[in-house]
């Protein structure tokens, strides 16, 4: 377990950096699930849990700098708990979310203390020391890497068995409830997207996508293509209003 926990800790550290920097997005649960599954020897389950967690975190993105429950730790520990304690993927979602919230609170604190880095950069700028500025910016990644790795390592190494016995002692109705919660939790992600995107004049596009799947059983790719066609149609037919409320007749 030590080697596996260390590998997952390494992955969590890198994913924590990917959340802010380079942003290849291998930190998203759909990827995390597969990788943690591979490390723990149950790739298939990792894939499914990761995909389930992905939907929960769909709308939980850092809009205008506000940080949602931590997607890295939620994905890593959610998948690991699901595989180690052999619970249903949906139950794992219910278990992962509280961890993710606690971690995000800690990160808010860390990013407040990070002012130290910018004050250091001020000093280097004063001296015209470009190398110093470059170093101090990159050095900012080190504490976060260590933090993510530790947060992933500790519960896995010390708590895998403990977590298993705790999960086994939970009453059936709670486990069943968590399963229901995992199944409907994606609604929160979608609702958060809607809160930002949904305007009265756009509501029918939401219904279009809903109906295409509900009645016509179309795949997501098909719906996305139809969405692009509809957007192009609106654009070229001047149905969109620009900032002054006038229909747009030519390109931007």
């Amino acid at each position: 377990m030590l080697i596996k926990a260390l590998l997952i800790a390494l992955y969590a550290g890198l994913a924590g950096i990917d959340l802010f920097d380079v942003q290849l997005h291998f930190h998203r649960p759909v990827v995390t699930g597969a990788i943690v599954g591979l490390i723990l020897g149950d790739f298939e389950k990792g894939l499914v849990v990761g995909a389930t967690l992905e939907l929960v975190w769909m709308g939980m993105v850092p809009l205008a700098g506000a940080q949602p429950p931590n997607v890295v730790i939620g994905g890593v520990l959610g998948t690991a708990f699901a595989i180690l304690t052999k619970v249903d993927p949906k139950v794992a979602v219910g278990l992962a979310v509280p961890f993710a919230i606690a971690v995000q609170a800690a990160i808010t604190f860390i990013l407040t203390v990070y002012s130290w880095f910018i004050h250091k950069a001020d000093k280097y700028a004063e001296e015209g020391n470009a190398k110093g500025v470059e170093f101090i910016n990159l050095a900012g990644m080190i504490p976060l890497f260590i933090f993510y790795a530790l947060v992933a390592f500790l519960p896995l190494y010390f708590g895998a068995d403990a977590a298993k016995s705790i999960v086994n002692s939970i009453p059936k109705v709670i486990i069943g409830g968590l399963q229901v919660a995992g199944g409907i939790m994606p609604a929160l992600g979608f609702a958060m997207l809607l809160k930002i995107m949904l305007k009265r004049e756009f509501i029918h596009f939401l219904l279009l996508g809903f109906v295409l799947v509900t009645y016509f059983k179309l795949s997501l790719i098909a719906v996305a293509i139809i969405g692009i066609i509809v957007a192009a149609y609106s654009y070229f037919n001047g149905n969109l209003k620009n900032d002054d409320g006038e229909a747009i007749t030519d390109g931007i």
Binding site: F20, L24, V30, V31, G33, A34, L47, V48, G50, A51, E54, M58, M60, L63, A64, G65, P68, P69, V97, I101, L111, T112, F117, I118, A125, E127, G128, N137, L138, A139, G140, M141, V173, G176, G177, L178, V180, A181, I184, A187, L188, A191, M192, L193, L194, K195, M197, F202, L206, G209, F210, V211, V213, V223, A224, S234, L240, K241, D243, I252
Partner: protein, 267 residues
Amino acid sequence: MAYNSNDKKLSKKELYSMAWRSLFLQASFCYERMQAGGWLYSLLPALKKIYKDRKDDLKKAMKDHLEFFNTHPFLVTPILGIIAAMEEKGEDRDAIRGVKIALMGPLGGIGDAIAWLTILPICAGLGASLAIQGNAFGPILFLILFNVIHFALVFGGINYGYNTGLNALASLKTGTKTISSLASIVGLTVVGALIASYISMKTPLVIHAGKAKVALQTGVLDKILPNMLPLAFTFFIYWLLKKGLSPTKIIGIIILFSIVCKYFGVL
């Protein structure tokens, strides 16, 4: 002071170096000045070349570029390009600051609409739809799709910003709302599809009417509108969000609600 004007002209080398560095825009992110450290880090290849023999001007520029900065990390390169062009032309320091601040807000908004609310949900939704069936291609498809667009934005943006220079400012301003609207149309269509596909909410309740038994889900709800419960529940959560409840509180509510519903056999 006389210097060769070719000497301080930025080449592709500096521009691409800036684009690569922009990947570390948030390496020293803090709430006090947000992306300021990473912004200066990204702009330095240009500043170092432009102010090669003028250390005092370099210091001044470096101090200015450590002021508060925050935009979308995928759309920072057009701003970097424009600001680099302004620095190269020797524009007034206040003008540079003004343009920088004027651009970071709108591009932050467009970036959120395009990257977080459109590209990410669509790419991740596609990947997850495969992965949830146990298909290993799901995560790979997601990473490829997402990053092709991501790097096209980052590296396309630096050239676009630099070449268009100040002209870009005007075109970006008028474009903001249109781009957001188009992104919303595609995004909302996909969200509608996601609601229908991925929220599993069915009731096991059975209605007893005399001797007749009717399953509420298959006999009533599905006859009216399949996926009615997921749609209604999403709008309920949407309403809670609009009321100002935090996502954290809503998660608590969802878990409690689920356990209670399970206990009474409603869900």
